[in-house]
Symmetry: D2
């Protein structure tokens, strides 16, 4: 951490500030220029907050030199992390496709989707039981009943399931879920992050719509801080000014996660654009950029889906897209999980 002091700062106040840092166990490098005094803080600066230091009147600027995240930082864990779930490996070259409908609607629907996406080559079944909706008047999901139907689909097909949690109160309901998804709007729901940190479940952490990579990795750090190291990151489109699509895939998230963290990252090309004709080109970009997997919406009847139909592939379209995905994963030397 670098602290730039204001010109002509009162000596006594500067000493007070330096004492504060020393008290925190930090070492200080002191640089006196013609009109600028700079303090370089060495040691564990992750506990420091820029805003707190700025509160000292003598401080003009504060700049982090090292990342504020530790446990998820590649610097301290150079090897790729592999998450193992239900016999599938995720990360480090192991490539997974998670697919299924936006919402679970009934047994026939979810089982048909599960069978078809499995046959096409997906390794996980996704489906929403609890649905975050912008409007209180929209369909909110089948909730607990939806979880039961997902588990039934798992029983019938053997596909492990990934589904979203929306409340700390529901954790018990997710006991048999294979991967718990934390949605984009809850990326900084810190209480839920802490609760998930205390569980041992694999977590699919979706990036917030306007979150920076640092904030995204700090959310993962929250889960690690609670003791749970099974975190899969998911980029699902950020908010930009573009009007032709609902969100906008941040493809740079893939190489940036690979540089700064050891965690696997998968891409959601369905939410990333909000239109099904973008799923294939964005999936291709994601694989080429180095993503560890994809999570794709596929529905037996998108026009009658109870939500997000615009971005869902029908099951035949999904078959076609999967063939293309497999060919590309092979080209990249990834191992497709069955």
């Amino acid at each position: 951490m670098i602290v730039v002091l204001k010109r002509n700062s009162d000596k006594e106040h500067v000493e007070k500030l330096m004492q504060h840092f020393t008290d925190m166990g930090l070492r200080i490098n002191y640089s006196q220029g013609a009109d600028t005094l700079i303090l370089g803080l060495m040691g564990d600066t992750t506990r420091l907050d820029e805003g707190d230091i700025m509160a000292y009147d003598v401080v003009e600027r504060v700049q982090r030199v090292t990342e504020p995240f530790k446990a998820v930082n590649r610097k301290f864990h150079p090897e790729d992390t592999i998450i193992e779930v239900a016999g599938r490996k995720i990360g480090a070259g192991y490539f997974n496709v998670m697919a299924g409908p936006c919402s679970v609607e009934n047994e026939a629907q979810i089982v048909e989707c599960a069978e078809r996406v499995k046959a096409a080559g997906a390794s996980f079944l996704r489906g929403g039981a609890f649905k975050p909706r912008t409007s209180p008047y929209s369909f909110q999901g089948l909730e607990a009943e939806g979880l039961k139907l997902l588990l039934e689909a798992k029983r019938q097909t053997g596909l492990p399931i990934v589904t979203e949690i929306m409340s700390e109160k529901h954790l018990d309901l997710f006991a048999d879920v294979d991967i718990i998804q934390l949605g984009a709007r809850n990326m900084q729901n810190f209480m839920l992050l802490k609760e998930l940190g205390r569980s041992n479940k694999p977590i699919l952490l979706k990036r917030g719509l306007s979150a920076t990579m640092e904030e995204f990795l700090m959310a993962a750090e929250y889960i690690f801080a609670g003791g749970n190291t099974n975190v899969i990151l998911c980029e699902r489109g950020i908010r930009t000014f573009e009007k032709l699509i609902r969100n906008n895939l941040d493809i740079s998230a893939v190489p940036l996660v690979k540089m700064f963290s050891h965690l696997p990252i998968i891409i959601d090309p369905s939410h990333a654009a909000g239109r099904r004709d973008m799923v294939q080109p964005l999936s291709r970009a994601a694989i080429a950029a180095g993503a560890d997997g994809l999570i794709i919406e596929a529905h037996n009847d998108p026009a009658h889906a109870l939500c997000d139909g615009a971005q869902s592939l029908d099951l035949n379209q999904f078959d076609t897209v999967m063939k293309d995905i497999k060919r590309r994963a092979e080209f990249e030397g990834r191992v497709m999980m069955p």
Copy 2:
């Protein structure tokens, strides 16, 4: 809702879509142009979701004509709403200043802050017990103990309190809190919104960092949908590309809320910039634009605050700012709540 169909759409599919709308109790106006067919949907369209309609292959575009929010919409409730809390009125010309430290730290601190902001003219004491922090390694607040200290400060000074809730599980702890704040990062924590909707507490709903006005008002609609109509909106800065400030006050939020909703809106000039030298000019702009109040961070010793010191005024600075605020509220013809 307007639905633009693709050129040369299959007749049968169009009829299927029209049947779907008729089944939902909507009336359809049908416009056939040279190469475009447009459906105008009349009736209660708040249950419709653009994405769901886009799922029909014959649909090219969907455009809302009326706002998706009803209960908070000024069209259906033309008079300004006044929220009454602890003898104070908020909205419709009644102006409130809520002030206090970012975090409750100990009894002496919170009581001193309460006494001083009350003396200066604040009508509510603010203070954080549960603190949303980007890093798990930062101070997370005194939690339940912090709430007790706030209530003690209220007992000693008579100032009603406003403080942030971060979990559905904590609602009981907030039984004696006067206004429950829902933070920006939880603006779309739909489960918590629903829970607060079922309570009868006044809610201070902070706008998310990248939320549109429609999303902001839809979050308020969630609380209304549960039966709780005591909602105070709070604009606290949005994320822009500006680097000199942490967030950026969206001053347009004030007149837009006044046009589209009947709810009161207050401004948080402390978080809106993240630097204390911006609090006064932004407060002035907020009052002039028509805000119903301000929520300001004031701390007895900002340099040693346990969080967000950079944006906190010290108590003498707060005195000065309050004198200016009073003079301006009077100029605008507002009634300052004591």
Copy 3:
């Protein structure tokens, strides 16, 4: 400028880099921590470019400590600059309202607008002769003929004029224009900035839609670098995610310009929202925040304006708004220019 080096950097490469800085006449403060080496560069760092330094493989991060702008920086020119044009003062408490139609359309129209805005209290006539339009099929302005009509309106009313330049080739046409406006889309048209820097005309420099304050002030620095110090800054709304308005007034620009620069700043509440019902509340906020003036669209017949009618006040509405503006400028202790 602070340069953070990578861990375990090759000594020889570090020395090469340090030699490079020394060759540029900079002094270096050298801080060696446990695992980080930091160089603090002292001297005139405005010629340094972060990207160039990052090119050295040993460099991990570069951070400016001082602003890259000098001539427009308040640090080196603490007093407010006052621009004098046609007998009007702008800045340092002297408040100006510039008003008129989006486009000059014909003599009767521009003269009527000029007479009426003058009578209402405007000190400058604004009007577009060259119009930047998103579409090549939209009305592009009367061009040279429009400039003649503006000058005719000036002759008849005595109001000095402000109008936009779009090409270096047109500078001669602007010889009798009082203030030359550089539009938002040309804020980083560096050739035009240089050309205007070589003239001695007062320049109204509009901020780009997504420009940071630093970029905005650097554009002003370009004009200063050419020798022209008559620059008036203008904030006219930035691009945000909000859909209810076309642009979004960045009210923070006013206090930030006042802190970091000595130049006057005026606000354009018409473009800042793109809807006329926002002009009055935004004007109020601008005055309260400390703006040095306003530039407002007023048209004799907005519904038949050849562009931007949605944001134009009609002349009666302008009268009403001006009365409110005068009362507020007086409250703030500003001197209204007639």
Copy 4:
């Protein structure tokens, strides 16, 4: 174009508005709902401006149904456009790599770069003679001398050249340049767009930092409107909130251009991130998403480049990246131009 009228609008005013549209040669579909009246305008609506229509007091909302661009619209030109320059084809499966230094610095440098990028497989030499720089104190390019050196490099190597124009006044200087680049900051420099529209040179049009796809395509439409149909689009990163990279590649631009336009689109992975370690992963994503080419910064000595060194590959790194690009272009079935 759809025009939604306000409730209870005055009949006479509505008729006036309808007359206005009829006078413009448009046909009107009229839909009367319970409380909403909607006008559907049919015919050539590209000359209509939303703001102008909004100026009518009876209008509540305006929504385009068809794109405002015609000449560049795929609807009216379904086949991919192929641009032919100096014996190279661009678009429709023909893949080009343009490479070279940020700035031309001297003959030895530019010739070495040209020879090496040609040997590696680039089909065009890029290099800046006129440089848009944020600071007036940064190196501004060798200007006319730089153009001469580029032409000399072309003479010695046979590589056609692409370089940026910054002023209408310079067009004559670019007579022998093969492709004229229009930079991101000038994307809406409408006078320069018109001037380039009157020339017959191939134009590489770079997308503005915050431009929407519609604005980007409208800029191309300006060039077409002048008669020049040789336009190559270039996505070079947009501004987002991410701090780890300077700009952020909008990968969706590739499939969106392919859907909405017939023009070729190439990607600039160097500017898109501003760091050289991102060039390879972003190039891979671009090829997979369907881009028609890449423009890459490669310099013989990035650490001593006079600008943008941080994002330049050295010539050996470029060799490596090119091998990877060729393998991937082949996998996609593209034809690499030599």
